[in-house]
């Protein structure tokens, strides 16, 4: 019974963070038609850069966080422009360059920061939900994630750049006929997805230990969620995030954290076996 409560509460929290993380991932995935394998590294990068700002450069938190986010967004843009865009017509090249960038980051982090987990400051205090003590940090995360989801929806449906992103994700040829430049749209998605990776990185680093390899598992989760939900299908992504978050947390509380690592693997395998084109439509 106790476990069920934990699963319910933390499943919801995790689902929400996965949703935000996946939305950022799906922007580039939808437009470029290729998964950005550096996305997990961006998540870790923000955690480490905030850590460095706080502990080595003694920057105050209210400065360290926005600077780190901007830095990650800029790096995301730089990666996209330099290693994804030039090879976009040749998927295997993009896989190689992006995985290479991810490995470079991983090595840099472990050379410079070591393998010992680091953490960022937690938002203080706890609140009791259904009799379970929950860190107030989770409430902060919930607020920020909800705001970011709504912001992205507003951006995609109300602004011209957002509409262009949706058009290109739908069809490159059609959008070009409408006078949209897909490559410029791609640039916008690199930037925005960088912000989304960065924010989730900063928010989760205090709760999850930050290690050089910590970015992989969210990357796979995002891939599984976006494919399951259907690329460009926001509602599908929401449902898929819920499914993923609850499956993962159930595994954590029932089977233990070690075995929960295989959650994304199991999910991708299930999708592949039963619905290779996504549960909710257009998945490549």
């Amino acid at each position: 019974m106790e476990e069920l409560k934990y699963i319910l509460i933390f499943g919801s929290f995790h689902s929400l963070t996965y949703l935000v993380f996946s939305l950022g991932f799906s922007l580039v995935f939808g437009v470029a038609r290729l998964p950005n394998l550096t996305y997990g590294a961006l998540y870790v990068l923000t955690g480490y850069s905030t850590y460095v700002f706080l502990n080595y450069l003694n920057t105050p938190l209210y400065l360290a966080v926005p600077v780190s986010i901007l830095l990650t967004a800029a790096i995301s843009l730089a990666i996209g422009e330099s290693v994804i865009k030039p090879a976009i017509k040749f998927p295997v090249s993009v896989f190689i360059t992006t995985v290479a960038v991810a490995y470079i980051f991983e090595e840099l982090f472990s050379i410079q920061m070591g393998l010992k987990p680091v953490t960022l400051p937690l938002y203080p205090g706890t609140t009791s939900i259904l009799g379970i003590p929950v860190s107030n940090h989770w409430l902060l995360i919930t607020a920020v994630c909800l705001a970011m989801t709504l912001a992205l929806l507003a951006f995609l449906y109300k602004t011209s750049t957002g509409k262009a992103i949706r058009a290109v994700a739908e069809s490159w040829e059609e959008s070009m006929r409408l006078g949209i430049n897909p490559l410029r749209v791609l640039r916008a998605t690199f930037l925005i997805s960088g912000v989304y990776a960065a924010l989730t990185g900063i928010l989760l680093a205090p709760l999850k230990a930050l290690t050089p390899t910590a970015g992989w598992s969210p990357l796979f989760a995002a891939f599984a969620i976006v494919v399951m939900g259907g690329i460009g299908n926001i509602l599908g992504t929401v449902v898929a995030s819920l499914v993923y978050g609850f499956i993962e947390q159930s595994m954590v509380y029932v089977l233990g954290g070690g075995i929960a690592r295989v959650a994304p693997l199991i999910l991708i395998l299930l999708i592949l076996v039963f619905r290779p084109h996504g549960l909710f439509g257009r998945g490549e």
């Binding site: 290729l34 998964p35 394998l37 330099s82 290693v83 030039p86 090879a87 017509k89 040749f90 998927p91 295997v92 090249s93 896989f95 190689i96 360059t97 995985v99 290479a100 960038v101 490995y103 470079i104 090595e107 840099l108 472990s110 050379i111 390899t213 992989w216 598992s217 796979f220 891939f223 494919v227 233990g256 954290g257 070690g258 075995i259 690592r261 295989v262 994304p264 693997l265 991708i268 395998l269 592949l272 076996v273 290779p276 490549e284």
Partner: protein, 345 residues
């Protein structure tokens, strides 16, 4: 009429082109008798075995363009199977090589089968994911209890029981040189098999899948079968690499699943040598791995960063051209085909 197309290459000429390769292979195999031993003989043994991994990668990913980042998974499963067979069933490593390679092959096939059936990014994502999952599993509870955790599993290596009967002075060199010969023979067999497959009709079907899978499917190629069989051949190379390496170098640790150890050098060799050419990556394998080994003392872990930067530059310089210089080679191959054809008409 093209002048090139109709000259039939003579048997003598073909033997002539193989001769230098045979010569180099012979000299190479004789290195221990010329006095090579110690650290660099061990390194060459390692590099020989890595050729199996490089060829595994080139044979599948170089032709089908499905990037198999999961090579460490196959290698690692074979290595751990060998260690586990030895620890829990008491199978001596000499007899565990074949079964452990088979176990790893079956495991890889079963887990990759769903992603081989479809087009798109699934395969590469799955392949990237698997070694990371395995590295997590072998170091975390409760699996680490049975899989040796961080320290890995140790056992007595290949031919160790025989070597114990030798005078103490000779033991080390006996093992070293035997391992070197075994790995060299494995490398030569792997090269011949890969070459034959890559330039057979089947190999060209794999290439057609890589260049336009939908077109291949719509013009008669059973793409799923081609991918499956190609993956099987390629993975058996990686499985043997894992088994043989583990048999020679206990203990088996989580290191086998770490891309910096078992993926970065072969991948760089494949790209540097030219995807799908087999010959190029083979030559590059020796160069890339020897340099990688030597770099450890100079720049330590930065060698991974260096190699990955090299990889990015190589790929970006020729985003589609990584296959470009197959051209001249293929032209010759076709001309001999045409010669056969017109001779029959």
């Amino acid at each position: 009429m093209s002048r090139l197309a109709f000259s039939k290459p003579s048997k003598l000429k073909r033997v002539g082109s193989i001769l230098p390769a045979l010569f180099i292979a012979a000299i190479y195999m004789l290195l221990p008798t010329f006095g090579l031993r110690g650290f660099w003989l061990d390194v060459l043994t390692r590099v020989n075995i890595f050729l199996l991994i490089t060829l595994s990668l080139d044979l599948y990913s170089g032709t089908t363009f499905y990037l198999n980042l999961g090579v460490p998974f196959t290698v690692g499963c074979a290595a751990y199977s060998l260690a586990l067979l030895n620890r829990y069933l008491g199978v001596p490593v000499e007899y565990a090589i074949l079964p452990s390679a088979a176990i790893s092959l079956v495991l890889s096939l079963v887990i990759f089968l769903p992603s081989l059936r479809v087009r798109g990014a699934y395969f590469s994502i799955m392949s990237l994911l698997l070694p990371i999952v395995m590295a997590g599993i072998v170091t975390s509870q409760p699996f680490s209890l049975y899989l040796g955790g961080e320290g890995g599993i140790t056992y007595s290596p290949l031919f160790f029981s025989y070597a114990r009967g030798l005078p103490v002075k000779e033991r080390a060199f006996f093992l070293q040189s035997t391992y070197f010969y075994i790995s060299s023979i494995a490398a030569i067999i792997a090269f011949i098999v890969s070459y034959k497959v890559a330039y057979s009709d089947f190999g060209f079907m794999m290439r057609s899948v890589g260049q336009d899978e939908l077109l291949a499917e719509a013009s008669g190629v059973n793409t799923v079968r081609v991918k499956l069989v190609g993956f099987l051949i390629s993975s058996s190379l990686a499985s043997f690499a894992g088994s043989i390496y583990a048999a020679m170098r206990p203990p088996v640790t989580v290191d086998v699943f770490i891309p910096a150890n078992t993926l970065v050098p072969p991948l760089t060799a494949v790209i540097l040598g030219g995807m799908g050419t087999i010959v190029g990556p083979t030559i590059a394998n020796y160069f890339i791995l020897l340099v990688y080994e030597a770099l450890w003392d100079v720049i330590g872990r930065w060698r991974v960063v260096l190699y990955m930067c090299l990889l990015i530059v190589l790929v970006l310089l020729r985003p589609q051209g990584i296959v470009y210089y197959l051209y001249t080679k293929l032209k010759r191959l076709v001309s001999s085909k045409i010669a056969e054809l017109t001779a029959g008409v």
